[in-house]
Symmetry: C2
Subunit: 199 residues, 2 copies
């Protein structure tokens, strides 16, 4: 039931000719060359040889062109929570679960240097940084469910999942700001500021 490359629901109709990944990559190039706010959606559409409206069909907003590529990471991280389901877990396991989920996202990134560029762009623009709250919402909800399944109260689970997302996002930002190849140590260190409250 997970999202695959297969497309069974395809009875007929005109096939798509636009490659979203290519368009997003092109947009990132334009952002890098002319700056984020100096590049309009019309500029991107023209460069991609498509209409502005078509561009909006694949990317709901300009920010989505930057944040969209992080979806698989969030998804992989979300799936990793599955390994920690079930009853009878101690406190240490909860933190380990969060750690596993945070690290799992790293594995599915094909090119870390692209991600670094993306995150640096995000760091430079408050408009994009703010989007983290929305873009990470699925992951926050998944973490919330995981914590509740492991015995935390609804209230404590919300506090902890909020802190968890903020800390891991900060870890990614710190990694992106530097030149270390591996983001994992940053994620591990970030989780040290978390505490699982007694139940």
């Amino acid at each position: 039931m997970t999202s695959e490359d297969a497309k069974p629901p395809r009875p007929s109709g005109r096939p798509a000719t636009i490659d979203p990944d290519a368009v997003a990559g092109l947009a990132l190039d334009l952002f890098a060359e002319h700056g984020y706010e100096n590049t309009s959606m019309e500029d991107i559409a023209r460069a991609a040889g498509i209409g502005r409206k078509s561009l909006y069909r694949y990317f709901a907003s300009k920010a989505d062109l930057v944040w969209g590529g992080t979806e698989p990471v969030v998804e992989a991280s979300t799936l990793a929570f599955g390994s920690f389901h079930g009853p009878g877990k101690s406190d240490g396991d909860v933190l380990a679960g969060l750690r596993t989920a945070a690290v799992a996202g790293v594995a599915v990134i094909p090119d870390l240097s692209v991600t670094r560029g993306r995150l640096r762009l995000i760091a430079e623009h408050a408009e994009l940084t703010s989007r983290s709250y929305e873009s990470l919402a699925p992951q926050r909800e998944r973490a919330l469910a995981f914590l509740i399944e492991n015995g935390l109260s609804d209230s404590a689970a919300r506090f902890l999942s909020a802190a968890y997302l903020a800390a891991t996002f900060e870890a990614w930002m710190q990694w992106a700001a530097g030149s270390d190849p591996d983001p994992v140590p940053y994620l591990i260190a970030a989780l040290e500021v978390l505490n699982v409250p007694p139940r």
Copy 2:
């Protein structure tokens, strides 16, 4: 050197006739009555009897009409860090400092029910919720400085201040969603998910 009510830099010139607080209050009423996105800046300006451009002079964005009122809270919270300056503090004191700062903001709120309405409006609109990152930025920076002053590494201080802001914001959101008069217990509980890493 802190911001006061005094306005020494006032040589001459036409005095202002617009009361920002009144305009913001009016805007909140309109948002409550017709909905946030159904109320345009032009609507607000017309209702306030001023020009749209004048409205933008007092509020840089539509979101500022909602978030602007939280500035004194952030400021008071920021000032509270002052009591914890100086060397020779143990780990427990660091968390106590964060707790004091978080609670200090509550005291300066004249009408908690207004704040609750504001936060509920924020919770309902992702566009407004996202703004928390920007609106809380001064507080985050102040917390960061406090943590560094108290011996944390730059890296750990960034992780902890990020988690601190996220947890306290979540505390305010949870308080706003319910009907408890006092937000302090929520703030205290939220800080229990934090851990000061060893130095």
